[in-house]
Amino acid sequence: MSVRAEGLLASPAPGERGSDVAAGRPPPGAEPEDEALLRPVLHTTWRFWAMGAVLAAVALWGANAYLVQFRWGLGVTGLNRPNYWGIYITNFVFFIGISHAGTLISAILRIARAEWRRSITRSAEVITVLVIFFGIGNILIDMGRPDRLMNVLRHGRFQSPLLWDVVSVSTYLVGSTVYLFLPLVPDIAILRDRTSGLRHRFYRMLALGWRGTPRQHRILEVLISIMAVVVIPIAVSVHTVVSFVFAMTIQPMWHSAIFGPYFVVGAIFSGIAALILAMAIIRSVYGLHDYLKPVHFSYLGTLLLVMSLLWFYFTFAEYLVTFYGSEPVHMAVWWAKISGPFAPAFWTMVGCCVVVPFVILSNRRTRTVKGTVVASVAVTIGMWLERWTIVVPSLSNPRLPGAAGTYFPTWVEWSIFAGCVAAFTLLYMIFTKLFPIVSIWEIREGREVAVGQVVERVRSYLPQGGRVDGRAS
């Protein structure tokens, strides 16, 4: 690994400028560089509180809806026989899918040494950690007997794909949290050094005594590299296992061998869209235009386009195979999606997941910040609908015709959905108030170390005047 200049990332001594920082003013004589990244943490506007209040209200409304459901039972939902699963399971799959934004993308970019990752990894990883809670939460909300959750540990059966989910998702949650936390340590140390009182104590505790010594850096780099490698198979397994919940049954249009990769692709696809949205909001709210540049959006947009096409490939394969086989029970579900009651959702999904992203993102001129945001909104909606059109139509069209039925969520379910989204956004906002949403030290590292390394690396790819290349770092 590269050798770092001593004290490169060391912060100034705490005593030097405490009060100024607390007042939120840029301290005189401090490096103005990257101060914009600390500003959201140290300075809060009324807009934040207003937005926070609105989101809290929605989240509380959702919590209230859940209490209604807890009191009266799942009867307050629109669920029925045969539609035993509905919006909660849709949300579970959707949220777990979104969670692939972070860890997986950031890990892949890290391993690939994509230098443009530096300003986006943090925001991606936060999405992952927070959204997993809502993924798990929706499973708990869906349970008829949440009070018996412990039975899963007490009587857990590994033959059940749901147990695979429990293991996989909890591992993913732990892994992602660690993977979020590790690169956060140097930034926490920065904040530790710039705050006082309670906040100072809070950051001191979390900074784990980070002083930025070369040894500490070495350890951090190793740990991050290990986690980046470890987290990828976990992430892939998570959504594979989520798909297995459906694919392991013999229900029409669930029982499919491509569901594993299909779900993983969909997850990354929706994750990138969510990341673009998060970045766009952070960029405009916190004025981080210098850090989240159009190039980031353009690159992510390209990635989104690739995933869109990949997703389309899987979808096409899945539906063509079903259609060509024309088994009646499968075709009942198929037609329900293509031209039946689920057609509006299905075709909106196709439009949102393929047509809109392709039109916008395949053209460099429209692959702007705005363009990618529009595409991402479409993809997010489309991917939610994709989960919906996978979960519900198969249940609505069971093998024995007598049990057929329709499902539409009630206010309780919509409220809980809204509450989840609001609570997630709120937690995300709170995170940006506690920690820099763009990794400061990684930006600095990029500026001070990586530029040279990249030049070196690129040079190493090229023939260099007859010299035998042996210097790749």
Binding site: L60, A63, L67, V68, F70, W72, V76
Partner: protein, 786 residues
């Protein structure tokens, strides 16, 4: 909707409690939402089953949920009826039971039961009732009756009787001694009473039994005989035996009905036809039978009278082409079915002997009976039988005084014999067609308003009676507008005899005994009549001297004991032995002393006599010359007759703009004895069409497309006489051009559990033909989106 207030507050309280508990658990204060709880959370409560190990017994009795007369065994634990199963010894049901009977305990514990006598407080027919004591209620009734009798107006009292057996005799005695001729039949819709064709052509007052068990070919006309007959369990059992439960070959069943009912679906062949033309088809089949010489010569030439005129008319008028034109049944089908029917022995044609709206006319019934007779299927194995009566000791003739003699001498309303039965006569009478007024009407085991089809015309007609008394255990349509409600025990709380018969014509007596103590302040209706009689005094007092109806039942069974015939209920295997003994002139059973006999009778559930003597022609043919008489049918078809539904020449023309013909059919397990709406039964009725808990009408997909009506749409059905609203069911099993609608008395609006098919019944009475006659035969309707 008046009960909404308190219900809401209770709900909210519960809800708030629930939320606060949950909020405390969650450690946050949630926003309160006032909706989302289950609709029934407040009205209902969690119930605890009786403790384990509590004393348990099985009590044998007879079901009274419908007129079927099945034997039941009630499981009683700690005094609670916790289950009802069929009595395996009972020859009618042999352990099977229908949904209605199985849910019987829920009628006993139904929250909507009348808990004690009620007196009207508001205006006549207002339905405002207050609780009263029995003393007060009986004083009011005794006073009224005594007053009318004192003024020589005893003949202005009428009693609508839905019971049978001894309770019916008690009512008859009461009226005879009191001095009224108006003992009117008020049987529930699917009850089986005396068959009109048998009365007309055989001269007997007897129900018709169809010996399906022994038939090789069954031709069923009209509405579903499996679901709508008087004893659905017995019909189903006979069907199953004929299909798979006998040595003889599997029966072939052909079903003729405008709609693919459950019976039609279970048949080997379904022949859809124009509603109300079953009689014409029967005569068309007879035409082919006669033309091909397939009739039973023995019957037509020796053992009947009046056949030749009928033959002439049938051969002249009922040519397959004409019949096909009128019924919509292809000529080839008519020819084929006629040949099958006449050449398969034994074959039987089943008429629809149901009562009330949608029933077949007497003329149609006679046509079907004539078809049976022509092929020798009357009083023959596998044919139409006149079941044997139960040899109960009859009550002695009622004493009479001068008032009684005078009152009895008035012509009875029941003599009118209108197509709609006694109740139709009553309605017409009340609407101004009658002679003297009716001052007091007693609904005894009956619900005349519902049986008349419910709805405003029926209610209004009954409201014309100044004083209306109901013995109903539930607030049925009649009780709701009564001046006095004297709630009877439910059938699980009372004594009763239940004389009935099997499909093979065997006499059966089921004993009904209480399986539960009375739950509420109710009394046995027959005992109440006796008590009222004591209050009125004179011959009425003498006529009804007993205090306990159980004694009446017990003493009447002395007749059976004395006869020595038949046997107590026993396992099926015992039947052959009884038959062997009896047909060889021995007594099959040793009944022992009467007390022993009575105890065994109660323990086994009843008595039967598994013998039907086909030689005994005098019993089933009371006509002059002991011959089956085709003349009544011929008379209706001759010039000057009133062919009604058999009029082949002049098909009824649709009223302007009313393109669809109405077909009314009974639902499986339709409510019999007024029971209140049982949720379990509501959940079953119409389930085969996915139409439970609601009022619906069915129409063919082609008609629905023309009318622009989608499945599930709310529609308004209009006839020249009235209209109703219902949900549309687009059903491929309906003949195009027909609107099919189920009938069955429903639950009361505002019932605490179980809601209503009531709209069916309620709106029915408004669906009348242009002439104002009750629904029967050809009614034309139009349908549009509501």
């Amino acid at each position: 909707m008046s009960s909404k207030g308190p219900v809401m507050t209770l709900r909210r309280r519960e809800f708030l409690k629930g939320v606060s508990v949950a909020a405390a658990a969650a450690g946050c204060a949630p926003l309160l939402a006032s909706c989302g709880r289950p609709a029934r959370a407040s009205a209902a409560r969690r119930a605890e089953p009786p403790p384990r190990g509590a004393p348990e017994s099985w009590v044998v009795s007879t079901c009274g949920a419908c007129p079927g007369g099945c034997g039941i065994r009630a499981r009683v634990v700690a005094g609670r009826v916790v289950g009802i199963a069929g009595n395996p010894l009972h020859p009618v049901n042999r352990g099977g039971l229908c949904p209605l009977g199985l849910a019987g305990a829920h009628a006993l514990y139904h929250p909507d039961r009348v808990r004690g006598p009620l007196l009207r407080t508001g205006a006549n027919g207002s339905g405002e009732l207050r609780a009263a004591t029995w003393d007060e209620a009986l004083r009011v009734l005794t006073g009224r009756l005594g007053d009318l009798r004192g003024r020589g107006l005893s003949h202005t009292v009428a009693l609508v009787d839905g019971t049978r057996g001894l309770s019916r005799q008690v009512a008859a005695r009461f009226l005879a001694a009191y001095g009224s001729p108006h003992h009117l039949g008020g049987r529930p819709w699917n009850d089986l009473g005396p068959s009109e064709p048998l009365r007309a052509m055989q001269g007997v007052e007897s129900a018709a039994a169809y010996d399906v068990e022994n038939a090789a070919f069954v031709l069923a006309f009209g509405s579903g005989w499996l679901e709508g007959s008087a004893s659905p369990v017995a019909a189903a059992r006979a069907y199953a035996i004929a299909r798979r439960g006998r040595k003889a070959a599997r029966v072939r069943v052909v079903h003729v009905e405008p709609r693919l009912s459950v019976s039609a679906a279970r048949a080997d062949e379904w022949i859809p036809l124009v509603p109300g033309t079953e009689g014409i088809l029967a005569l068309g089949l007879m035409h082919m039978v006669l033309r091909e010489g397939l009739e039973s010569r023995e019957v037509t030439e020796e053992r009947s009278s009046g056949f030749e005129p009928l033959r002439a008319i049938v051969l002249r008028d009922f040519h397959p082409d004409a019949v096909s034109e009128r019924t919509g049944v292809p000529v080839a089908t008519i020819i084929r079915v006629a040949r099958q029917f006449a050449s398969t022995r034994p074959a039987v044609a089943i008429g629809d002997d149901r009562n009330g709206p949608g029933a077949q006319s007497v003329a149609t019934g006679m046509a079907i009976h004539a078809l049976n007779a022509a092929v020798g299927a009357v009083h023959a194995p596998g044919g139409v039988l006149a079941p044997l009566p139960v040899p109960l000791d009859p009550l002695p003739p009622a004493p009479a005084d001068e008032v009684a003699e005078r009152g009895r001498a008035f012509p009875s309303l029941a003599a009118a014999r209108r197509p709609g039965g006694d109740l139709a006569s009553l309605q017409a009478w009340l609407e101004g067609g009658g002679g003297h007024p009716v001052h007091l009407l007693v609904a005894y085991g009956s619900d005349p308003v519902t049986t008349l089809g419910g709805g405003e015309p029926a209610r209004a007609a009954i409201r014309r009676v100044p004083f209306l008394v109901s013995f109903s255990s539930f607030l049925d349509e009649t009780a709701r507008q009564a001046d006095l409600v004297l709630p009877n025990h439910t059938y699980l709380e009372r004594w009763q005899d239940d004389p009935t018969f099997t499909s093979r014509g065997f006499a059966v007596l089921g004993v009904r005994q209480p399986v539960s103590k009375p739950r509420h302040d109710t009394r046995d209706a027959a005992e109440v009549l006796a008590e009222v009689g004591r209050g009125v005094g004179g011959p009425v007092r003498e006529a009804l001297p007993w205090r306990s109806f159980a004694d009446v039942v017990r003493l009447s069974t002395r007749g059976i004991h004395r006869s020595g015939r038949g046997a107590l209920f026993d396992v099926p295997e015992a039947e052959a032995w009884v038959v062997t003994m009896e047909t060889n002139g021995w007594r099959a059973s040793s009944f022992g002393s009467f007390d022993e006999f009575w105890e065994s009778l109660k323990a086994r559930g009843g008595w039967w006599d598994p013998v039907y003597d086909f030689g005994e022609r005098g019993r089933v043919l009371r006509t002059p010359g002991r011959k089956l008489d085709f003349a009544p049918l011929a008379r209706t078809l001759q010039p000057g007759g009133t062919p009604g539904s058999l009029a082949i020449a002049a098909p009824p023309a649709p009223v302007d703009g009313h393109p669809l013909r109405l077909h009314l059919y009974p639902l499986l397990a339709a409510f019999g004895d007024s029971q209140g709406p049982l949720p379990w039964v509501q959940d079953v009725l119409g389930h085969e069409l996915g139409q439970t808990w609601t009022a619906w009408v069915e129409l063919a997909p082609s008609d629905a497309a023309i009318l622009g009506i989608e499945d599930g749409a709310q529609v308004r059905v209009e006839s020249a006489g009235g209209s109703l609203e219902a949900r549309a069911k687009v059903y491929a099993g309906v003949r195009p051009g027909v609107l099919a609608m189920p009938v069955g008395p429903g639950g009361a609006p505002g019932a605490t559990c179980g809601r209503a098919l009531a709209a069916q019944a309620g709106a029915l009475a408004t669906l009348r033909t242009a002439g104002g006659e009750p629904v029967e035969g050809d009614v034309f309707v139009r349908v549009r989106r509501a």
